[in-house]
């Protein structure tokens, strides 16, 4: 469990990081290292140089800016979990974050690291996709933004160019008519999910006016189950609409087999999560 040798630079500006990304043969950014160090220990990657962005204060902080909450790429999972701003402005994230890893890992792992790793079973990419977040990235042409829904391409693959760095995520602040749901099935608390679901809904009375269902661990990337959502949008939750939504998941998801579960089990569990979360959201609305 020893990595291949590598050069190491702790950069003091984004520009310096971009220059190194362009100059090196096999550069790799390191943020919290909580995913990258295991990858290196198992020799699944052999970077020529690690570019440590941990000292860039421009990438830190969690800040409310009007109707978005801006989370710096270096915000640690533990900070997100402890943040009163997050709890108030983005309740879906507040619910999801305690499922990310274990306390010692949350003390170092960063929001940006989780987004850029793009593990298909990770919680934060799914939350960003469900909410329609926007990512700020910095590269040789300066700053640009990428919608979360166009960012996650495949297993460990994102829309980030090789010389780009994630700077921050902008998550829309929740409005009063919105409802959120989050659940995952994992063998142990803190493990990556076998299957998980992050939901954003807007209700009009008992009708689902808007519905975003983002599954993770159920496809090679976090996916919005649009067919399932269409089966419910504009309607009340009944046995029929619920069943139609569950049936539609076959068209929405592309579950893979791994050591934890086969594709059929993942599809089944996705249906179980969908039923439970829709019922919770519809139930909340009726109580009012």
């Amino acid at each position: 469990m020893k990595p291949y040798p590598f050069e190491y630079t702790r950069v003091s500006s984004l520009e310096e990081a971009v220059t190194l990304l362009q100059r090196e043969d096999e550069p790799r950014i390191i943020a919290g290292g909580q995913s990258l160090v295991p990858i290196l220990a198992m020799r699944l990657a052999a970077p020529s140089r690690l570019i440590d962005i941990g000292g860039l204060s421009a990438l830190r902080g969690i800040e409310r800016r009007g109707d978005v909450l801006r989370i710096g790429a270096l915000a640690r999972h533990a900070e997100v979990m402890a943040s009163a701003e997050v709890a108030e402005a983005v309740p879906l994230l507040a619910r999801a974050i305690s499922h990310v890893a274990h306390p010692a890992v949350r003390n170092r792992g960063t929001f940006g690291g989780s987004v850029c790793l793009a593990d298909p079973a990770a919680e934060l990419p799914a939350v960003c996709t469900a909410l329609g977040a926007t990512f700020e990235v910095f590269g040789s042409d300066g700053l640009r933004t990428i919608p979360a829904r166009e960012f996650f391409l495949d297993i460990y693959e994102t829309a980030l160019a090789p010389d780009e760095i994630l700077v921050a995520a902008q998550l829309p602040v929740a409005c009063p008519k919105e409802r959120f749901g989050f659940e995952e099935i994992a063998r142990r608390h803190g493990d990556f999910a076998i299957v998980g679901l992050a939901v954003r809904a807007r209700m009009e009375g008992t009708l689902f006016a808007e519905l975003d269902l983002c599954f993770f661990g159920a496809s090679p990337r976090p996916v919005l189950a649009q067919n399932a959502a269409r089966a419910v949008i504009g309607q009340e939750l009944t046995d029929e609409t619920q069943q139609a939504a569950v049936s539609a998941l076959t068209a929405d998801l592309d579950p893979q087999e791994d050591a934890q579960a086969d594709a059929e089990m993942r599809l089944h569990l996705a249906g179980v999560l969908l039923k439970r979360r829709l019922a919770e959201i519809a139930g909340k609305e009726r109580q009012q």
Partner: protein, 165 residues
Amino acid sequence: MSEPRQSVSLTVNEERHDVTVPNRKHLADILREDLGFTGVHVGCEHGVCGACTVRIDGAITRSCLVFGVQADGAEIETIEYLSAQSETRDLVDTFVAENALQCGFCTPGMVISAAALLAETPDPTREEVRAYLSGNYCRCTGYQAIVDAVMMTAAGRRAAKGERA
């Protein structure tokens, strides 16, 4: 390729050490091999077992998931120091009294993690203890005695506070 190295300054258990280390050497190996803190146990070396847990700048961290070069300037506390501090001494004693260890390999990481839990949540439920310690593997005890020891320490601290009040 010759081995790239850098010199780093680490404060370990309140004492400063300057060492030159290979970039790829993780903090657990540096603490054990270069500085002699063998209470830092190395199990899996890829972040899953928790045996190498130490405190870095006050926060519990897996020392196998931090390269020494990333920790330049950090303040590190290991079990050698923490087990003598009042915030963990009672936990260690209760682990011993309750047979919460057999081979003891997981114990330094368990104790440091449990101490962090009790600092955040002085009155945890058994489920909270299990969830918090879910990242620390024990291959001997079956966890029951570990959870017992953490619960008893929490109860003992509350009782002690009650007596003083």
